[in-house]
Symmetry: C2
């Protein structure tokens, strides 16, 4: 096995010990809460990692894009939820083909969007399982709770569609300042979707799944009575934003980027060969704070251009041209999407190169 | 030929009429200024586009990464400048192999970095052409002008190395507020590198190339006496940041992203199926201002998550679920790096799908 030192930089490393611990911890948490765990596989985009999650007890996987589902279906996965409002005839036709071989469900948050799916499934004599997205405060997609019943009724009447559940995602947790506020958001997330499910059931709709998401809120939302499923994604790797949010410790970050110092043009500045093409330009959450922690250093990556990570060197740190450093990126999911492969490591050695099979599947 | 309407969204479109005009305009500008044009091919990462640039008169291409040079060398390009301080034995060995078949030059800004290349080229009985990077105010990489002569002398003494020129890049232009300040930065860029070349020549060093860069500053820097070469990249596509900087008009943007409105959850909010995985999270330059212009709309993409582009709908605009929109992204180069292919269009029809051959070459 290759030592990490022999890898060309920059390279994305996944520490297997940390990965396995992260997977086991979330699986135990979901088991204890009595909910199904359906990890969002967007974080890694790697069938082999999703298999580890299933082996630890996950019931299936969540994804966002039809093209991602195609990759995972080809890799043998047969229970996939596209937690995204899929819209359009072209994608509906691909979903129809997928539903021949996969237990598939798909998000929706509008009658107009759901109709584009209905118009393909109904003539084929098939029914697509839809989950209604509820906005629990993230102000992204999802029907507002007060409109949930009206939209659900209309969707449930569409031919070729079976409304099977409700789901939500508390993206606002990534802007929350304290563990207490994250916990409160998580409880609200669970409450919002469980109470929407209650209203829909009260109107005679059969709502089987009540699904929550997000790594920061998962421990709180999954414990709300009525919740049946949890879809965290990031926990598998974690990142600097999760550390800053208090979701995990630095040692729980399975993903690091090994980079080389290519320039020390001034005493207070060092430049790495990892820029936004490697680390992405996603900001640190919940508050801006550079573009990556450096293991064993107090300095951070302060600014990025495509191929340059500029470190403002703080007192006590020093950097040498040619030195290798390890960067904990702000956002692991987007780093996965930038790279054709990541390297699985254990104890300082490379155990394998994993293709990021579903990278770049935008449609 | 397929109509654009038949493409699955999101998809990156390159308008060939605009592309050809952009290539011709920059070629004419360089010819008039009497400098060689060496486009930075990072913007497109596509050999076919670089061939169009060469056909219009470009002398060669610039790239940043050894892996990018390998892709372009395999595609038949034989004059490549890696405008980046390459460091390390592994990359030096790959450069040695490349230099068998390509007229290759490489950036350097430190004796320590240059030595890692020397230690591979000298034992092989070969010489690598190095260009010394000068910092003209960007505070990224590059020796400060006052240290240029000292570093150049040391590099020039290394076995296996031939110091052939100096280069710079005025990245600070992307933060400049007015066309006047960009012009001033461009003139300073040319002056800084030309005067460094003068000092090195005065000390007996043979400096043949004096190279400037950047799309905003190119028209100004290339006209400075003593400059021999210009390396703009972005001009080939342009983007919302170039429009905001005043470098081009909106109609000069060859790259757009076609996206579908997947949700209109509130009257003042519409959500596109293009998020940071498609558009990147790079901010608008020179000042933040959302994440993409929408053709024919006053609203902008206001915030992004990976698969969601959230539009704050301004008065007078309206969006329907299923509607297609065209987004002019903030930063074309990073969009190229996110996508396996782009679609060449002309007059509303798709003429071809171009693989982004050098996408994701991080090492």
């Amino acid at each position: 096995m290759t030592p990490i030192e022999d890898l060309e930089t920059p390279a994305v490393l996944i520490d297997l010990d940390v990965l396995e611990a992260n997977i086991a911890r979330q699986a135990a948490r979901a088991k204890e809460a009595g909910v199904k765990l359906r990890p969002h596989a967007k974080t890694h985009k790697i069938p082999g990692v999703a298999r580890m999650q299933l082996s630890a007890g996950a019931a299936g996987i969540a994804l966002a894009k039809t093209g991602e589902a195609e990759i995972f279906a080809n890799a043998g996965f047969n229970d996939i939820f596209l937690a995204y409002p899929i819209v359009g005839a072209g994608k509906a036709r691909r979903l129809l083909a997928l539903s021949d071989r996969v237990r598939l469900s798909v998000g929706a948050d509008s009658i107009e969007g759901a109709r584009t799916l209905s118009e393909v499934f109904a003539p084929a004599g098939r029914r697509l399982s839809l989950m209604l997205k509820i906005d629990c405060g993230g102000s992204r997609v999802g029907v507002l709770p007060e409109h949930a019943l009206d939209v659900a009724r209309q969707i449930a009447r569409l031919p070729g569609i079976e409304l099977v559940g409700v789901f939500t995602h508390a993206g606002q947790a990534y802007h929350a300042g304290t563990p207490q506020s994250i916990a409160a958001i998580g409880r609200h997330e669970g409450d919002a979707v469980a109470s929407a499910a209650g209203r829909l059931r009260g109107a005679g709709l059969e709502i089987r799944e009540v699904s929550v998401g997000s790594t920061p809120t998962a421990p709180h939302a999954m414990r709300v009575p009525g919740v049946t499923e949890c879809r965290p994604g990031n926990y598998v790797y974690h990142d600097a934003s999760q550390v800053s949010l208090g979701t995990c410790a630095l040692e729980d970050c399975a993903m690091t980027v090994v980079a080389t110092v290519v320039s020390v043009p001034a005493p207070d500045r060092a430049v790495l060969d990892a820029g936004s093409k490697t680390l992405s330009s996603d900001p640190l959450r919940p508050r801006p704070g550079g573009h990556g922690f450096l293991l064993g250093k107090k300095s951070r990556v302060s600014r990025l251009s495509e191929e340059h990570g500029v470190v403002d060197v703080v007192a006590g740190d020093s950097f040498q041209v040619g030195e290798r450093v390890r960067v904990v990126p702000n956002h692991a999911c987007v780093v996965s999407n930038l790279h054709d492969r990541v390297f699985a490591i254990r104890g300082g050695r490379v155990e394998g190169a994993w293709p990021v099979a579903a990278r770049g599947r935008v449609t």
